[in-house]
């Protein structure tokens, strides 16, 4: 489970906060999609959960552990997929997966690793090709396989579908749904409101560091969600 309690981050003391008093909970099996313009505080939220930033106030909890005071223990339950997955270009997809899985302390047999790559949607003939020859979508799939290999209880995604073609985006959505079915708590920062509506169990709209709107996507059509989003973005502070 992921939980933000009054989570606040100021990069410069006294300045306007990049993240202001955020409160949210992502339970196992939920996909919480954070929407918002650039600079709204989505990536700051992700980085606070990852422990890359120290909060100015409040807490980011992963499986009940405060990330700031238990950085290593909290990471054991976490997996992360950035906007652009950069792997080791001289290793094959399979070798990258093996490397990152072993970093997390997992020793999967080769067959299991191949299976994970296939589950992530990477075609078999690419498993033994060097990642330097992969497209962005293929690297994203290896990134997902890395998250699968870690068997993480929570997954943080930062603009994961940015730059993916529609087919790859669709496959990616299916993957997320499968992960949430397994009980993974997923927090995804995205610009893609249609994808958010498709996979999200909750949608939060952020503006100027604040979570200004939280809603259930099932209650809205895609055009209604778009209207709410634009209205929220355009309304005065």
């Amino acid at each position: 489970m992921l939980q933000a309690i009054n989570l606040t981050k100021r990069y410069i003391p006294g300045a306007i906060p990049a993240l202001d008093n955020l409160n949210l909970t992502v339970s196992p099996g939920e996909i919480f999609c954070l929407l918002g313009q650039n600079g709204a505080g989505k990536t700051t939220t992700i980085n606070l959960f990852l422990g890359f930033l120290k909060p100015t106030a409040g807490q980011a909890l992963v499986s009940g552990l405060d990330v700031a005071s238990h950085p290593l223990e909290s990471k054991k339950s976490l997996a992360y997929l950035p906007e652009t997955v950069m792997l080791y270009p001289n290793l094959t997809g399979l070798e990258n997966l093996k490397f990152f899985a072993s970093l997390a302390g997992f020793r999967h047999p080769p067959d299991a690793l191949q299976d994970l790559l296939s589950q992530a949607g990477l075609q078999v003939d690419a498993h033994h090709r060097r990642v330097g020859q992969y497209s962005k979508g293929m690297r994203q799939k290896v990134g997902i396989a890395i998250a699968l290999a870690k068997q993480a209880k929570a997954l943080l995604l930062d603009e994961p579908t940015s730059g993916l073609d529609p087919k790859a985006s669709n496959e990616f959505s299916d993957l997320l749904l499968r992960l949430s079915d397994r009980g993974t708590a997923i927090l995804m920062a995205t610009h893609d409101i249609f994808r958010a509506r498709e996979v999200g169990t909750q949608i939060g709209i952020m503006r100027a560091g604040r979570l200004v709107e939280t809603m259930s996507p099932q209650a809205l059509t895609a055009s209604e969600l778009e209207a709410v989003y634009l209205q929220t973005m355009n309304s005065p502070h």
């Binding site: 980085n47 990852l50 422990g51 890359f52 950085p71 290593l72 990471k75 054991k76 976490l78 997996a79 992360y80 950035p82 652009t84 997955v85 950069m86 792997l87 080791y88 001289n90 290793l91 070798e95 093996k98 490397f99 990152f100 899985a101 072993s102 970093l103 997390a104 302390g105 060097r130 990134g143 890395i146 870690k150």
Partner: protein, 450 residues
């Protein structure tokens, strides 16, 4: 995991090109070292034959006068060439390894040396010590400047930091892979050197190898420290190249310049002029003055008295002796200043590991200034021994044929191998631990930062 990290490193075309270049440069340096040793060994072998033949001809052409014969006859002292000097040629290709001296005044003969290739004085030799001291660090910098920094810049480090339970240990393992590869190249080149140059595997070779290992570890420690500062890869590259230039070019040049200014050696010229003047002026002076001074130096020859003839070999060699005696002060000052240069360089080098390594590799290879000074001391002793051996025969007008000339052999000076290992290793260990420690602290502080 280590295997995969190693694969990622070694599969990089840049890494393989760098290693190929280094190995090629290493092999070329060994070939140059082999050529040098072959030349030295050939000279040592030829001088034996050459001296024997020269003695035979001189005895044949000057069979009547011992004084005249010894005016022409040179005797050779060979500065034994340590096979390690094939790895660190130092000054051995500039200074003669064979000193041929007659029993006439010595000072002018000591520095009567030719240079095989003056261009080398400017460029230096591409010997193994050059490859070790200059090229290995460049490749270490190329292999480490982007460690973590580049992964941070392109985003890989975020995934690593989330996945890894021990990112600090991972960085140490990445450094260890690079250390392992570079030490592997070093060991391969040293093994090849032992085979190609016929270097005996003894304590000196062990010390040479260990110094090389410590030198590379020092550079890894410097690179580790810089990469731990959590700066960009371009900053790391710039900082490390500046350190390389500072430690290998600017500092040694500044130290050399400072030492040359602090210990100028006008005595080098003065000694020769004084020796020549002291000898030549005696032709116009009263013989008694010369002989009194000569007998004051060698009281054991007083019985030969004052020569009556207008020319006598006793008087001639006494005049020659005066050349050396009257320039002795300048000669001693010159030696003292050269020694001071060596000692001061050594002291300053304690603070400059690159300079220290070069000096001590030359010391182990017996190719440095210290060896040259000890060889010149040995030449003094050798020359004196010859004088004391032949003076009584000349002054007593012994028949030339009474001497067994065939028994005269080329003599060899063997410089004792230095065994001050603590002094040799200490600065490298100290600075290696210092920068390694700083890197350790920096990495501990910064490894979780993005």
């Amino acid at each position: 995991m280590l295997t995969l990290a190693f694969k990622d490193f070694i599969r990089s075309s840049g890494v393989r090109a760098g290693l190929f270049f280094l190995l090629t440069a290493g092999v070329v340096s060994l070939l140059i070292g082999k050529q040098f040793l072959d030349r030295q060994r050939q000279q040592a072998a030829e001088i034996t034959v050459y001296q024997k033949e020269e003695i035979r001809r001189n005895v044949k052409f000057h069979p009547d006068e011992m004084g005249l014969l010894l005016y022409y006859m040179p005797f050779a002292l060979v500065n034994e060439t340590n096979s390690l000097s094939g790895l660190a040629i130092g000054q051995r290709d500039v200074n003669p390894s064979v000193q041929r001296v007659t029993i006439r005044a010595l000072e002018a003969q000591k520095y009567d040396a030719g240079l095989t290739n003056p261009a080398n004085l400017l460029l230096g030799n591409l010997d193994f010590s050059f490859v070790l001291i200059y090229l290995f660090p460049l490749l270490i910098i190329a292999f480490t400047y982007n460690l973590v920094a580049e992964e941070r810049e392109n985003g890989t480090w975020k995934i690593v930091a989330v996945q890894s339970r021990h990112p600090f240990r991972l960085v140490l393992q990445l450094v260890a892979i690079r250390v392992f590869v570079m030490l592997g190249v070093l060991v391969a080149l040293l093994a090849l050197a032992a085979f190609m140059l016929g270097i005996p595997v003894n304590a000196a070779f062990g010390a040479f190898g260990l110094t090389s290992v410590l030198y590379l570890l020092f550079w890894f420690a410097v690179c580790f420290w810089i990469t731990s500062l959590h700066r960009s890869s371009s900053f790391n590259a710039m900082a490390l190249v500046m350190i390389w230039m500072g430690l290998l070019i600017v500092w040694p040049a500044a130290v050399n310049n400072s030492i040359e200014n602090r210990y100028p050696v006008p005595e080098a010229m003065n000694t020769m002029v004084k020796q020549r003047k002291a000898y030549h002026e005696k032709w116009d002076m009263d013989k008694q003055v010369t002989m009194d001074r000569f007998y004051a130096h060698y009281p054991q020859f007083k019985t030969y008295g004052l020569p009556d003839e207008s020319f006598s070999w006793l008087w001639y060699y006494a005049m020659q002796q005066m050349g050396d005696d009257e320039s002795a002060e300048q000669s001693a000052a010159l030696r003292e200043k050269l020694l001071q240069r060596e000692v001061t360089s050594r002291h300053i080098a304690w603070l400059v590991p690159t300079l220290h390594t070069q000096l001590y590799l030359n010391e182990l290879a017996q190719s440095g200034l210290g060896n040259q000074l000890r060889f010149l001391d040995a030449v003094n002793g050798f020359h004196e021994k010859k004088r004391l051996s032949f003076y009584p025969k000349i002054f007593g007008k012994a028949p030339v044929r009474a001497t067994n000339w065939a028994a005269i052999r080329v003599e060899t000076f063997a410089d004792p191998v230095p065994t001050r290992y603590a002094e040799l290793f200490m600065p490298l260990v100290f600075f290696g631990l210092l920068f390694g420690g700083l890197g350790w602290i920096g990495l501990k502080q910064n490894v979780y930062r993005l």
